[in-house]
Amino acid sequence: MSFFVDENTRLIVQGITGREGSFHAEQMLEYKTNVVAGVTPGKGGTTVLGLPVYNTVREAKEKHDANASVLFVPPRFLYDAAYEAIMTGISLVVTIAEHTPVHDMLKLHHLAKDKGVQLIGPNSFGVISPGKAKAGFMAHRIFAQGNVGIMSRSATNCYETAFLMMKESIGQSTVVGVGGDMIPGSTFVDVLPHFEADPQTKVIVMIGEIGGSEEELAAAYIKDHVTKPVIALIAGTNAPKDVSMGHAGAIVSPDGEGSAEKKMEQLLAAGALIAESTEDIVRILKTLV
């Protein structure tokens, strides 16, 4: 199986007429992803990579039965583009852009929840089900089909993990970049039930980091609802307090909220296996798969 994206995905690319949009649309097509159309307001009627471009998501959805959208739009247009996709009832919306205003994400997070839409990102590499489809900009060559599910706030730590897994011939079922921002569209807790339910996934890798409470919430969920083994890495144990570490979300409050220690403690108590590095993730994986 796998989830979010696979052979049944009918993907549209919002912002396909931009430089990044067209480049990554091509990459996704190369990966045999079923990209069905592009959307750029004002560019309706044109063609990019042989794909029709529409002014609205709705038209793309109706003409091509699209069920997923990936957004390659600048952060200041992200709100409008994601809003349109969510309101049109696209069931998976993947946002890539970094530097999305927090207040925008605050609204989009809840809008997506209310409308039953899976919103992934922003500040994310996207979603990939290796060998099937991808919606995002990740370098797909380092991913291989297998039975480890990965969800990660960090792109580089995820890439590194996938790269090291490849050397050991361990592949992935689905890899989800929940993104490095303060307010993600979907959190670890939102993704976990999918991994738990997916028969292809045998082990879950969670790459978290300092800041926020997503790892703590995930720990609580894992304790009560997850039967599969979970390997967790929390980056940033030794990061200074009250300083954003590059990801807008990776910041420990002056009062210590969001520290790596607390996250690891709770994950350990929930039965997760704590890895100290990406190499360590793979070492543990080798004992499990």
Partner: protein
Amino acid sequence: MKLLEYQAHAVFHEYGLPSINGFTATTVDELKEIDGKLPYPVVIKAQVQTGGRGKAGGIQFAENREELLKKGEQVLTMSIKDLPVDKVFVTPKVSVKKEMYLSFTMDRRAKLGILIFSPEGGMEINEIAEATPEKVAKVLLPAGDKLDDFIVQYAADTTGLDPELVPEFKNFCRTLHTVFLQHDCLLAEINPLVLTEDGRLMALDGKVDIDDNALEKHPEIRTMQDEMTENKLVLEARGFDFLYIPIKDSGEIAIVSNGSGMIMSSIDLIAKAGMDCTCALDLGGGATADRIQEALRIVASNPKAQTIFINIFGGITRCDEIARGIQGSLSFIKDKRMVVRLEGTNKEQGLEIIRGLGSGMELVDGLYEGVDALAKGKKL
């Protein structure tokens, strides 16, 4: 971006939020100009981006011109928590009947705005919450642009705010909430929110932290950024769209990498091996030779950085580009130790170039090996 107190007041005034008026001064001459514009006694407050000003002597009262100049100069020449005080904010001394606390901030757990209110103020909110938890209301705000009346009413009711103050308090909250939304604040805090002797609510001190990702919408705030007391290398790096993060004063290692997660992982493993980093620089995407050169120049100008650890892993980053960047930086990194890990496209070509640069370069394969090299001084 955290505003200085006087900048926060300027934002409040813009929205018509009742807030204290005052004047700033950076020199004794400017202090002289303030004399006569405000009724004595006045308050002189150091404008630095840190808490605990009061305890450090950064808040002084002056009864007359003489005191204003003397104490003003005193504050202007002090440093608070290593931050030199470049500016003071001078305001009238207000007769206060009651100090309260009010803020709007983000609740990351619920992914909602949150109103925090206490009819007790003056202290930090976590101190208030520890002392009298029943007097602190934390109320999540439904997603949307409206501050619902019932939210504010609830905050007032559950903390026992005098019902006579509720109507004005509601207005005050609505205005501060508008600041919070329209100025894209991560935090809009008023502490103390005071009830003056003549029965009005007023912001006596304010903290405003604005979402960096929204500064594009607020050009007037961007201009304030230059004024802020900030690390020069951070500013220089920002000019190239790099993120420079000072880490530990006692550290000797500088990390150059391409990604927040990778940087945190590097710091963690280095710390675990008993070493300390002084700084890290995140190249972001698209690391060309030119950009690598600029990045290395910036970290090399930090005298604490004895060793530079270059840790590059990029799906589409070309390692030969990186290597050429290092090659071009030899002049300013010559006295530094260099540990280099390259992974990605054209890795072999990149390694070839590095090997050609001589024994100053230590090449490693992977993060663990890099940390080992840093620890052991292992050479290629």
